[in-house]
C-alpha cells in the first residue's frame, strides 16, 4: 500500500433526504411517532374505538314499543342477558367450547409429539406443511366438506353401510341431547365440525413446547426406572402443559365466537355467536347483541389471565 491517500469526501448533505435523515437522527421520537402514527390511528382509534362504542351500547336498552334504542345508562340489558333462555345459550356455548378444546388436545397431541420428537430434516418440513395447509385452508370449504360427509347420502353413511355398522349410527342418533334425526342436524355433527376446523390451531404451540423439553430429561427419567407411561405423566406432560394451554386459547376462543358452523351443521338451538347475529340483525336489539359479545370477552379475559399465570405465553 502506498501513502495515506486523501479521504474520500464525506457524503454531502444530500438535499431534502439528507436533511430529513439528520433531523430523524437527532429527533428519534419524531421518527417513532411517524412510524407508529398510522397503525395506532387505525387500530387504536378506528378499531378500539368501535369496540368501546359497541360495549357502551350494552349499557343502553331497547324501547319495547318503538324498537328504538333508548340512550340512557341502564343495566336492564344485562338483566335480560341473564334470563334463563340466554343463560342456556351461554352455558351451551361454553360447554361446547370446552369439549371441543379437550377433544382437539387429545387428537392433536400425538401429531405434535411425533413432529417434535421423531420427525427430522425433510420429514419435519413435510410435517410442518401438513399442519399449515389445513390450518390455513378455507374455513367455509372445510365446513362445506363436512356437509358432504355428514349428509344422509354422503360418505359416512356409505362407509358405515359397507362395514355393516349403520345400526351403530342409528343407536347414537337415538340418544338424547347428542342425537337427532341426522348427524348434520345434531350436536354431534356440530361438535365434529368444530373440532375439525379449530383443532389445527393447537398443533404448533404444543409442538413448540414439546421441542423445548430436553431429550436428556426423558432419558434421565427412563434411566431412573420410569416406565414410558410414568415418564409421560410426570415429565413430558407437565412440561408440555403451557403449550397445550397456549394452543387451547385459539381453539376455545374461536369456538366461542363461531356462528356459522352451528348454523349450517347443527340443531336449531342457538350458540352465542348466533344469538349476537340474530339480536343485531333480525331482532334489531343492538344493546343485547353488545351485551352478548361481552360474554366471550370476559371469558377470554379470564382464560388469558389464567394462561398467563401458567406461563403459557412463553410457549406462543
Amino acid at each position: 500500500m502506498t501513502t495515506v491517500a486523501e479521504s474520500f469526501p464525506l457524503p454531502e448533505r444530500r438535499g431534502t433526504a439528507g436533511r430529513l435523515s439528520d433531523f430523524f437522527w437527532r429527533h428519534p421520537h419524531v421518527l417513532l411517532a411517524i412510524l407508529l402514527g398510522p397503525p395506532l390511528i387505525w387500530l387504536g382509534i378506528v378499531y378500539l374505538g368501535s369496540l368501546f362504542a359497541l360495549l357502551l351500547q350494552s349499557f343502553f336498552s331497547i324501547d319495547d314499543f318503538s324498537g328504538l334504542i333508548n340512550y340512557e345508562f341502564t343495566l336492564a340489558t344485562y338483566r335480560q342477558l341473564l334470563s334463563e333462555a340466554n343463560l342456556d345459550i351461554i352455558i351451551r356455548t361454553v360447554a361446547m367450547a370446552a369439549l371441543v378444546t379437550l377433544a382437539s388436545a387429545v387428537i392433536v397431541f400425538p401429531i405434535a409429539y411425533y413432529a417434535a420428537r421423531y420427525a427430522r430434516g425433510k420429514g419435519k418440513a413435510l410435517f410442518y406443511l401438513a399442519v399449515m395447509l389445513p390450518l390455513w385452508s378455507s374455513y367455509l370449504v372445510k365446513v362445506y366438506a363436512w356437509k358432504l360427509i355428514l349428509a344422509k347420502e354422503g360418505i359416512l353413511t356409505w362407509f358405515l353401510a359397507k362395514l355393516n355398522l349403520l345400526w351403530l349410527l342409528d343407536a347414537w342418533l337415538a340418544l338424547p341431547i347428542v342425537g337427532g334425526s341426522s348427524l348434520s342436524i345434531s350436536y354431534t355433527g356440530t361438535f365434529i365440525v368444530f373440532v375439525y376446523v379449530w383443532m389445527p390451531f393447537m398443533i404448533l404451540p404444543i409442538q413448540a413446547a414439546l421441542e423445548r423439553v430436553p431429550a436428556n430429561l426423558i432419558e434421565a427419567s427412563s434411566d431412573l426406572g420410569g416406565t414410558p407411561a410414568q415418564t409421560f405423566r410426570h415429565v413430558i406432560f407437565p412440561l408440555a402443559l403451557p403449550g397445550i394451554v397456549a394452543g387451547s386459547i385459539f381453539t376455545f376462543s374461536l369456538t366461542l365466537g363461531d356462528y356459522i358452523i352451528p348454523q349450517i351443521i347443527g340443531s336449531s338451538r342457538l350458540f352465542i355467536g348466533q344469538a349476537v347475529y340474530a339480536q343485531q340483525g333480525t331482532a334489531g336489539n343492538v344493546p343485547l347483541a353488545a351485551a352478548f359479545t361481552v360474554v366471550p370477552i370476559v371469558i377470554m379475559g379470564a382464560y388469558l389471565w389464567m394462561a398467563k399465570r401458567m406461563g403459557a405465553f412463553d410457549a406462543l
Binding site: 464525506l10 457524503p11 439528507g18 435523515s21 421518527l31 417513532l32 412510524l35 407508529l36 398510522p38 397503525p39 387505525w42 387500530l43 378499531y47 374505538g49 368501535s50 369496540l51 362504542a53 359497541l54 387428537i107 392433536v108 400425538p110 401429531i111 399449515m132 389445513p134 390450518l135 390455513w136 385452508s137 378455507s138 367455509l140 370449504v141 372445510k142 365446513v143 362445506y144 366438506a145 363436512w146 356437509k147 358432504l148 360427509i149 349428509a151 354422503g154 360418505i155 353413511t157 356409505w158 375439525y196 389445527p200 431429550a215 436428556n216 432419558e219 414410558p228 386459547i249 376462543s253 374461536l254 363461531d258 356462528y259 356459522i260 355467536g273 347475529y277 353488545a290 359479545t293 370477552i297
Partner: protein, 271 residues
C-alpha cells in the same frame, strides 16, 4: 441440547399420528372429488360418474365471476394496507425502545384474538353510528384490520434476526437513514414482507365472519359460498368454487412457506 433422536416411534403413536393427519386432510381431498361428480341434486357418495362439465358451467356464471373479482380486489387492497401498517408497526416495535411496546403487540393481535364476530359487529355498529354506508371500502377496512397482525408477526420475526450492528455498520459506512433502509433493511426483510403479504392475502380472500357484517349487499366469494351453504341452489357449481378457493388459498401459503423456510420459524403459525 437435544441428543440423538430416537429412530423408532412406538406403533401406537404412529397410528394416532397417521389417523390425526388423515382426519385433517381427507375432507379437503373430498372437495376435489366432488368437483367432478355427475350428481347434481344430492351429495351422493360414491359419485355415480365423473365429469368436467361443471367447470364450464361455473366459468359462465356472472355471479361467480363478480364475487371472485370482488374478493380479489378486496384482498389486494387490504393486503397492501396491512403491509404498510404492519411494517411500520413492526419497525417501531423492534427498532426502538419506548414505553408501551407490549401494549402495541397486544393491540395488533386483538383483532384475531377476539372472536371474529366481535370485530365484525363492532365495526358494523361503528359504521352505523358514523353513518357510513356499506361499500367496497367498508369491507377493505375490516379485512385490513385483521390482516395487519399477519404482516406484523412476519416482519417482527425477521427484524429480530437482523443484528443491530448491521444497521450501525451501514450508518458507519456513510449511509443515512433512507439509504440504510433501502440498501440494508429492505433487502433483509423483503422476503418476510412478501410472505406476510401472501398470508394476509389468503386470510382476506377466505374471510367470511367479519365480512358478513361489513359487506352490505355485496358478495365476496366466501359470502357467495355461505349463501350456497345455507340455501343450496346449484351444488355442482359450489363444488367447483370450493375447489378453486382451496387452490387459490394454498398457493400463497406454499409461497410464504418457501420464502421463510430457513430461519424464522413461523410463517403464519399464528393465524
Amino acid at each position: 441440547m437435544r441428543s440423538e433422536k430416537p429412530n423408532h416411534a412406538p406403533l401406537g403413536l404412529k397410528i394416532a399420528t397417521a389417523a390425526g393427519l388423515a382426519f385433517m386432510h381427507l375432507p379437503i381431498l373430498l372437495i376435489f372429488l366432488y368437483a367432478f361428480t355427475t350428481e347434481e341434486k344430492s351429495y351422493q357418495f360414491p359419485p355415480p360418474g365423473l365429469t368436467a362439465q361443471w367447470f364450464a358451467v361455473a366459468w359462465s356464471r356472472p355471479d361467480v365471476w363478480a364475487a371472485l373479482t370482488l374478493s380479489l380486489k378486496v384482498a389486494s387492497i387490504a393486503t397492501a394496507t396491512a403491509l404498510v401498517l404492519g411494517t411500520l408497526c413492526a419497525a417501531a416495535v423492534s427498532q426502538t425502545r419506548f414505553f408501551g411496546r407490549e401494549a402495541i403487540s397486544l393491540l395488533v393481535i386483538l383483532p384475531i384474538a377476539l372472536p371474529g364476530i366481535i370485530t365484525g359487529i363492532a365495526l358494523r355498529s361503528a359504521f352505523s353510528i358514523a353513518e357510513i354506508p356499506f361499500s367496497f371500502w367498508t369491507i377493505v377496512l375490516g379485512h385490513a384490520t385483521f390482516c395487519i397482525v399477519v404482516v406484523y408477526n412476519n416482519a417482527v420475526a425477521r427484524f429480530r434476526r437482523i443484528s443491530g450492528s448491521l444497521i450501525e455498520a451501514s450508518m458507519d459506512l456513510g449511509a443515512d437513514g433512507f439509504q440504510t433502509f433501502r440498501y440494508v433493511i429492505l433487502p433483509n426483510i423483503g422476503t418476510a414482507l412478501l410472505a406476510g403479504g401472501m398470508l394476509a392475502f389468503a386470510l382476506s380472500f377466505d374471510e367470511v365472519i367479519v365480512t358478513t357484517f361489513t359487506a352490505g349487499q355485496q358478495s365476496t366469494l366466501p359470502i357467495w359460498m355461505l349463501e350456497e351453504l345455507i340455501r343450496p341452489r346449484q351444488r355442482p357449481v359450489t363444488n367447483v368454487v370450493a375447489m378453486i378457493v382451496v387452490i387459490v388459498t394454498f398457493l400463497p401459503i406454499l409461497g410464504a412457506y418457501y420464502l421463510t423456510r430457513d430461519g424464522d420459524k413461523v410463517a403464519g403459525a399464528g393465524k
